[in-house]
């Protein structure tokens, strides 16, 4: 085994052990059920890939919005390069910035999406597991497509792109299904295995149950006061990625749903005094997720809606139709759907404006992630629609998902603070 692979395995093992530590602490303190299940899901995800690599088994490098249930069904351990990049960065910001430098030295432009530069830096430094293949999807953006091509090139392995089309009409989905069938053939060949339909069915049923709970949780976020906040919702979306088709995801969502339902029944919010309901029309900055807590504590402002953490009811996943399920899965989130396919048959701005109404938002905030042309490209339309049609204030906060050098946390917070005092009258 190459030295760099040993280093990657050690690093992954250390992450899994840290997560076990978190889990033990939570359990000993009698932590919330959902939190325990979350960390179980996370730890198991890292441990599976690490164990497989240790045993010399092949692992897969995967994109975020790929139907991971298929890998579960085929017993293929996977890791999601972007997530791994984000998590590594979150645990060591200084070291994370060095990863950017590594990626940029290899020719990646500094304007490329920061999670992608982090993932590339990790791969170039031999800190990710050597995969047997790379699988990715066209959702959410050009940069995501290219990232996984770059990673396949670094690892010198084949890659398969699920060409999720620009729309969700029957003919779009028929094409997406063809792609899924090809993907299955690709995986069977690369991993020298056979897809077991019964196992797939089981994984999809589990996934369906998890998604059903998630949908109900998204609805509960409409309650006044809101029982949960933006930071907590990040966990919902993460578990959907790392434990797709696995029991941990159902355990997590079941517990979380019950916890939130109890709060809603008792009319309890995440904070005692909810003053403002915020529609956060993007993702929270990953390098400062605590910004959500700060908004709650300082202004009584709760993120009731974030596009990353909200499901897309337009897309229904049916385990009775396994190929259809896998084909539609990349569009199941509002975030991927609207990053990717707005104008074909519906309008992103109309839908996002309607969400602001449904979630009874008092203001909308768009984090203008420096590299993200998808979401930044919607800014002016969103501002126009939301201020005129919904009639609530709209703020753009410049920043970056990972790179604090673009706009520091202090500056982002001061931008938000000014908005609350001067526009919202806080």
């Amino acid at each position: 085994m190459a030295v760099s692979q040993n280093a990657a395995i050690e690093e992954h093992q250390a992450i899994a052990e840290r997560m076990t530590g978190t889990l033990d602490r939570l359990k000993s303190r009698g932590g919330r059920g959902s939190e325990v299940h979350f960390w179980e899901g996370m730890r198991n995800y890292y441990q599976r890939a690490t164990d497989a690599a240790k045993a010399g088994r092949s692992v897969l490098c995967s994109g975020m919005f790929v139907p991971h249930e298929l890998f579960e069904a085929m017993d293929i351990p996977y890791y999601i390069a972007e997530n791994h990049g984000v998590m590594t960065f979150q645990s060591d910001i200084e070291g994370g910035i060095a990863l950017f430098d590594t990626a940029e030295r290899a020719g990646m432009a500094a304007d490329i999406c920061s999670p992608h530069r982090a993932a590339t830096g990790l791969a170039l430094s031999g800190r990710t597991l050597q995969p047997k293949a790379v699988v990715h999807t066209t959702t959410t953006c050009d940069q995501t497509i290219k990232l996984y091509e770059v990673l396949a090139d670094i690892h010198k392995v084949p890659n398969f792109l699920i060409d999720t089309p620009y729309g969700a009409r029957p003919n779009d989905m028929a094409y997406a299904e063809e792609n899924v069938k090809e993907l299955i053939a690709f995986l069977e060949q690369q991993f020298n295995t056979k897809m077991d339909p019964a196992r797939l069915r089981k994984a999809l049923e589990i996934s369906h149950e998890a998604y059903s709970y998630w949908e109900k949780i998204c609805e509960l976020r409409q309650a006044v006061p809101c029982p949960t906040g933006g930071r907590e919702a990040v966990k919902d979306t993460t578990i959907l990625l790392v434990a797709a088709g696995r029991q941990e995801s159902v355990d997590y969502f079941k517990a979380r749903y019950q916890e939130l339902k109890d709060k809603v029944d008792k009319k309890e919010g995440i904070i005692p005094d909810e003053k403002y309901r915020l529609a956060w029309l993007y993702v929270l900055p990953f390098f400062d997720l605590k910004m959500a807590d700060w908004l709650q504590d300082t202004y009584g402002a709760v993120i009731v809606l974030d596009t990353f953490g909200i499901n897309n009811p337009e897309i229904t996943l049916d385990p009775e139709d396994p190929i259809g399920f896998l084909a539609k899965k990349p569009l199941k989130r509002r975030f991927t759907y609207w990053s990717f396919a707005p104008s074909k048959e519906a309008s992103a701005v109309d839908d996002l404006a309607q969400m602001c109404r449904d979630f009874k938002a008092d203001a909308a905030v768009l984090l203008s992630h420096w590299s993200c042309q998808q979401w930044c490209g919607l800014t002016q339309m969103l501002r126009d629609k939301i201020t005129k049609d919904v009639g609530i204030p709209f703020l753009t906060v410049n920043g970056d998902l990972l790179d604090p050098r673009v706009v520091s946390s202090e500056d982002m917070r001061s931008n938000l603070g000014e908005f609350f005092t001067s526009v919202m009258g806080a």
Partner: protein, 371 residues
């Protein structure tokens, strides 16, 4: 007329493009503006319409209020023209989901400009039997929608006629390409000719191009001892940029640009189902990095460098054009492996920073001396 006069007339048609379009539009004829060379103009011609490529102007001062500064300056410059009302004459605007920037340009165009007919085609990222069948349906939808909107149902015969005309034009452009390779026409002039093809009515362009080919025939041509270069990269519609490269000891003898050889590289089958033939043609033309097959793009450029006896490749990338940016990592490696020297130039849509660009080009060319 000499070849120089004809080339100057093409250059003029491009420079005065709004005037060009207004003066060539037949009374009552619908004009459709398109972006991205994957757009199948043939369908517009078959509807009796006048397809024109939408280009940007010098400024982005209006569009910067509507589009984030992190969008590529090509789309900002295009949208700026639209905001200034310069494209108000269009009866239609259409494009494809080629890249994030074009997609969002379509969104803001539809939202703020209100051109009567708008359409965005879904372009697959892969070329497979399934993707060709899918794209054929997409083309069918455009054909139906356009026919309905303009009250002119588009027949298969009309499509075949348009395909034959475009094939004819593309064959002529291929001849001109060979002449550029031999040095009969400069790379800068060549850009103006191909751009004029996207702005003039096709029949008139073909007539003028035939004249040019006759004028150039038999001219004793050679690139002499100038360094022979291939140009590739983001959308490039500024012949002055190419002239800058050619200023000193260099000739751009070939290109892999969407405003160049990609526009005419391959032909459409004139037999059988015309929509299927178009789907095949567009999905099998030399890919831009937007398409998934990275290897195919690299081998195409490497192959071109060899067949054109090129001394080097220049890659120009518009800032924030992420596709070309990220695609460039593999392209550079591929060229290096093939022993082809390569220069990457980052630029804005409109020609700025000429001084430093010139210095970099000169340094590159000097570096070729020892190769």
């Amino acid at each position: 007329m000499t070849a120089a006069d004809t080339i100057a007339s093409f250059r003029q048609a491009v420079a005065d493009r709004y005037q060009t379009i207004a003066s060539h539009r037949r009374p009552g004829q619908k004009v459709l503006g398109w972006m991205c060379s994957y757009f199948p103009e043939e369908i517009v011609s078959a509807a009796g319409g006048y397809p024109v490529r939408v280009l940007g102007g010098e400024s982005t001062s209006y569009s910067d209020a509507y589009m984030h500064i992190n969008m590529c300056s090509l789309v900002r410059a295009v949208f700026d023209e639209a905001l200034q009302g310069k494209y108000d004459f269009l009866d239609g605007f259409a494009t494809l989901n080629t890249c994030d920037n074009i997609r969002r340009t379509f969104d803001v165009w539809e939202y703020f400009i209100k051109t009567p007919f708008t359409h965005i085609l879904a372009l697959p990222h892969r070329t497979t039997p399934a993707s060709i069948a899918y794209f054929r349906e997409e083309l069918g939808e455009l054909k139906e929608k356009l026919g309905q909107a303009w009250g002119t149902p588009i027949s298969d015969d009309a499509l075949r006629e348009a395909i034959a005309q475009y094939n004819h034009m593309r064959r002529l452009l291929q001849q001109l390409d060979t002449m550029r390779m031999e040095g009969a026409i400069s790379g800068g002039d060549f850009v103006d000719v191909v751009l004029a093809a996207t702005l003039l009515p096709k029949d008139q362009f073909i007539t003028r191009l035939q004249e040019l080919l006759t004028q150039l025939e038999g001219t004793s041509a050679s690139t002499g001892d100038r360094y022979r270069l291939i140009l590739t990269g983001s959308e490039m519609d500024d012949s002055n940029f190419v002239r800058l490269i050619e200023e000193k000891d260099a000739a751009v003898v070939g290109d892999d640009l969407c405003t160049g050889s990609k526009y005419y590289w391959n032909l459409t089958d004139e037999k059988g189902d015309p929509l299927l033939a178009l789907a095949k043609r567009y999905l099998s033309r030399p890919p831009c990095p937007r398409m998934h097959d990275t290897e195919e793009r690299i081998s195409h450029v490497v192959e071109m460098a060899k067949s054109h006896r090129a001394d080097g490749v220049v890659v120009e990338i518009i800032r924030f054009c992420k596709l070309y940016d990220e695609g460039n990592i593999a392209l550079n490696k591929g060229l290096e492996k093939a022993g082809v020297p390569c220069l990457t130039l980052s630029r804005e849509y409109s020609l700025t920073g000429v001084g430093s660009m010139r210095t970099r080009i000169e340094a590159f060319i000097e570096g070729l001396v020892g190769v």
